[in-house]
Amino acid sequence: MNPSAQSGAPSPEYHPDPDAVASHRAPPGPVGRIGVRAGAGILVLAALAVGGAIANWRPINSGGTEQRERPFVQVGQVGETVSGRLFDATVLDVRGAAKVTSGGATHDTGGVWIVIRLRLTVHTEATSIGYAALRDRRDREYRATTRFDQRLVDSSRQLQPGIPVEGDVAFELPRDAATEVVVQLAKRAVDRRMDDLLEVPLPPVDRATVDKWAAEPTPVVLATPRVVAP
């Protein structure tokens, strides 16, 4: 028989001993506290190390860097003005030739010369144009030739705002690439990431036309850049 039930005393189920702690850990001692702080310090150092590793991580063209930082392409047609961040460009004319004359000297080629007449106007600040290229259907790039000076597109001429300048630019291509090309223009010669790139596709021509250009004995005289009326 349960005596507490007989006496009416409080049952142990409802009156636990307040001092009877079921379980707990003793507070850490001096050594334990040092260990806790050392652990926290190690965690901080580990966080700094991970952050530093991430900050110094320089993936080489991984994660689509080339796609992510591609230029902003502005497309126009021959005869119309294409406007970019810094300048406007208009392709006025396209010709093909076996020889070109610049500065009194004539230059031949084993392929074909493509000569375009350009008009450039910068917007707000004196600026030079450093990149002019033709890109064919196979995505091959042909820069404006450097066999002679082409001051309009070799970064050497500063264009003044609001003063349009026209001139010829020559490109030397293999004949199979000359049938369908796109003109590309930009300010910077090397790094064109995340900047405007002006594109003008040239009218496609057949191979017979290209061969005819390559057989033309008369050289095309390149027009030097000159100021034109706005």
């Binding site: 006496s7 005393a9 409080p10 707990h24 609001g162 300048v165």
Partner: protein, 313 residues
């Protein structure tokens, strides 16, 4: 009915302290039930409670050296009944200490209290009640408040230098901070003083071979005269004068549009013939016919982002 009386020393290997309270009689003649004891509020580790009585030794701790008080026979019987192989699934849960009034946390101690306390002790091996911690320990934000406060200067120290360096590098790429003229029209810039003497349109630009230069259509030529005052001849070496029109467009000196015209070389340093610390220079600009000059800017790469700005007129 007889309840065997068992002395406390028989339950412990340690000598028990002297029993001061009389043993409860075998027949239950317990006094009126006392209010149920409650768990006192437990202070954080290492901090004694200001109101709680001194903490007695843990009865069920592993420390077997603690002496146990003698208990009465009924209480021991109750304890034995708990030690006996009875189901323990119904082990009592500890009451919520925060829900108890403060007075209940200090139960009246009576002579029969040790018996009740002994009866209330959970048996060894029984399911232990969950310790009550709600409201007793400070929260995460309170425990880490100083760390969070220290996080702000730590972040500032970690990010500040690189942000400052990046901003300064970005600022140095272009002229962004104009240094304007004082009331006398002079601008103190790069260790020299500069004054705009005049800006005039040149309708007749000199060419070579005693022939005037033919200006392109739609272009006007402007001649800018600047005066300098410095004791250091190289103070403005490599300067670049620019002309700003009222639309904010920037034009450079000695432009290609005026190639063929007889223009002096633009320099902000004294010529070999110049005597003293004061000298002048002339620069030509080509602007569209519709443009009107608004200011002359003197750029020096080593002074960027600062530049001298001299308003026209």
């Amino acid at each position: 009915m007889s309840i065997p009386t068992v002395s406390a020393p028989a339950q412990s290997s340690q000598p028990a302290p002297t029993q001061t309270a009389p043993l409860a009689p075998p027949v239950p003649t317990m006094p009126a039930p006392t209010p149920p004891p409650a768990w006192p509020a437990m202070p954080p580790f290492g901090q004694p409670s200001p109101s709680a009585p001194p903490e007695p030794p843990h009865r069920l701790s592993a420390d077997a050296t603690q002496p146990l008080p003698a208990v009465s026979a009924p209480a021991l019987g109750a304890a034995q009944s708990m030690v006996s192989p009875q189901p323990t699934a119904g082990a009592p849960q500890q009451p919520e200490a925060v829900a108890q009034p403060a007075a209940a946390a200090q139960p009246t101690v009576t002579a029969a209290q040790p018996a009740a306390e002994a009866a209330a002790r959970p048996a060894v091996g029984a399911a232990r009640p969950e310790p009550e911690t709600s409201g007793r320990q400070p929260g995460w934000w309170r425990r880490n408040r100083w760390g969070l406060v220290a996080l702000l200067p730590a972040l500032a120290l970690a990010l500040g230098p690189s942000l400052k360096e990046g901003y300064e590098q970005y600022s140095r790429t272009e002229p962004r901070r104009p240094v304007v003229a004082g009331a006398d029209g002079w601008v103190a810039f790069s260790g020299a003083r500069i004054r705009l003497v005049e800006v005039v349109e040149e309708t007749t630009v000199p060419g070579y071979g005693n022939r005037p230069f033919q200006l392109p259509k739609g272009v006007r030529a402007w001649r800018v005269t600047l005066a300098f005052e410095t004791t250091d001849p190289e103070a403005l070496a490599g300067c670049q004068p620019q002309l700003e029109d009222q639309a904010g467009r920037i034009f450079t000196a000695r432009p290609a549009e005026l190639s063929g015209a007889r223009m002096p070389v633009v320099r902000c340093t004294p010529s070999d013939e110049a005597a003293g610390s004061t000298y002048q220079t002339v620069a030509y600009f080509a602007l569209p016919r519709s443009a009107t000059p608004a200011a002359v800017r003197i750029i020096r790469l080593t002074e960027l982002p600062s530049y001298a700005r001299l308003p026209v007129g």
